[in-house]
């Protein structure tokens, strides 16, 4: 019997500039689901040129290994990282009153399975670039929280940014 799925589990729409966005208690919130999909539209309050890192981690622990490729108007590039405590995802800043957000999507597979590390397909796009890639969280623990914060200590995620968490059964 087919099972309707791809359900909205939680959402955050920022009413004011905020330092961090957290999805917690996923063992309860996402009970019965197999994959999670996090969809974000975000911008930082920083005024530096270009982009700023929106950092993501699971359970505030563990290490990540990542491979990504980027395309902009003139070139492509590849990037890899290993052993990072957080994953960097670049979002547009508020330089020169820029109001254009960045789009980010994370497909988190088997988030609660304890017999494997967690592998994630991610993509983030803005008006000037597109990044695609894959990363792995090197823990077999179930993911119980997803945490996002902007790298700069004096910058926030701006009001109006949105974060939607979906669950998919298997």
């Amino acid at each position: 019997m087919p099972t309707p799925t791809y359900d909205l589990l939680a959402s955050t729409v920022l009413g004011s500039n905020t330092a961090t966005v957290n999805f917690t208690n996923l063992g309860t919130v996402a009970a019965g689901y197999r994959d999670l999909v996090l969809v974000c539209m975000a911008r930082s309050s920083g005024t530096s040129s270009g982009n700023e890192a929106l950092l993501l981690d699971f359970n505030s622990t563990g290490a990540f290994d990542a491979t990504s490729s980027a395309w902009d108007t003139s070139s492509t590039s590849s990037q890899t990282s290993s052993g990072s405590s957080k994953i960097e995802n670049y979002i547009r800043t508020s330089q020169s009153s820029n109001t254009t957000p960045s789009f980010l999507i994370f497909h988190i597979f088997d988030f609660a399975q304890t017999n494997k590390h967690k592998t994630v397909l991610r993509r983030y796009d803005s008006s000037t670039y597109s990044w695609w890639g894959v990363f792995r969280w090197n823990q077999t623990s179930a993911i119980t929280s997803i945490n996002l914060d902007v790298e700069g200590t004096s910058t926030d995620i701006v009001a109006g940014s949105t974060f939607y968490l979906y669950g998919i059964v298997s």
Partner: protein, 190 residues
Amino acid sequence: MSFILLGILNSQVTAAAGGPAYDLIETTTATSGGSITFSNVNNLTDYKHLQIRYVARGTEANTGGTIGIRLNGVTASDYSSHSIIGSPSTSGSADFTTYFFANDTIPLGSSTTSAFGVGIIEFTDFLSTSKHKVIRAWLGNQALGGTRNFYLTGMLTNTTAAISSINLFIVGTSGNYATGTRFSLYGIKG
């Protein structure tokens, strides 16, 4: 021409009367063999498109494995695909004219313990008999101890036959899918 418009619920807006459009059809957890097949998908007439989400690893004593996709049991050169490939050191591209395959997108037995490759594969207008089929795939492997790749692929079948079966296999291996591997099939209404 078909476009998939998947309305995803917005918590600020009352759900529209369209109803559920994305259904889990079945999940296969591979317990033996290096090949799985979703059969008789041509009977899924309530759906316009299909999607497979998978988490996979192989058992062969090697590092990077290659996922192959074969439709309706066809092994001839009835396919063409183009891929953008990302790896730690470079971005590249590739073309294939036989069944689609994506190199080093699943880890095998000698790669990082507990690491699995993942993928999302979409089959648009899979029942149509008036057009060639377009398959889109986003696959990735981030296990260490070998090449780690992600693929963005578009594949075209050189036949207008409806898709009746989908076979996903580890190319050129004598090993099996490892415990913890699963392939889930979803139907999308349209």
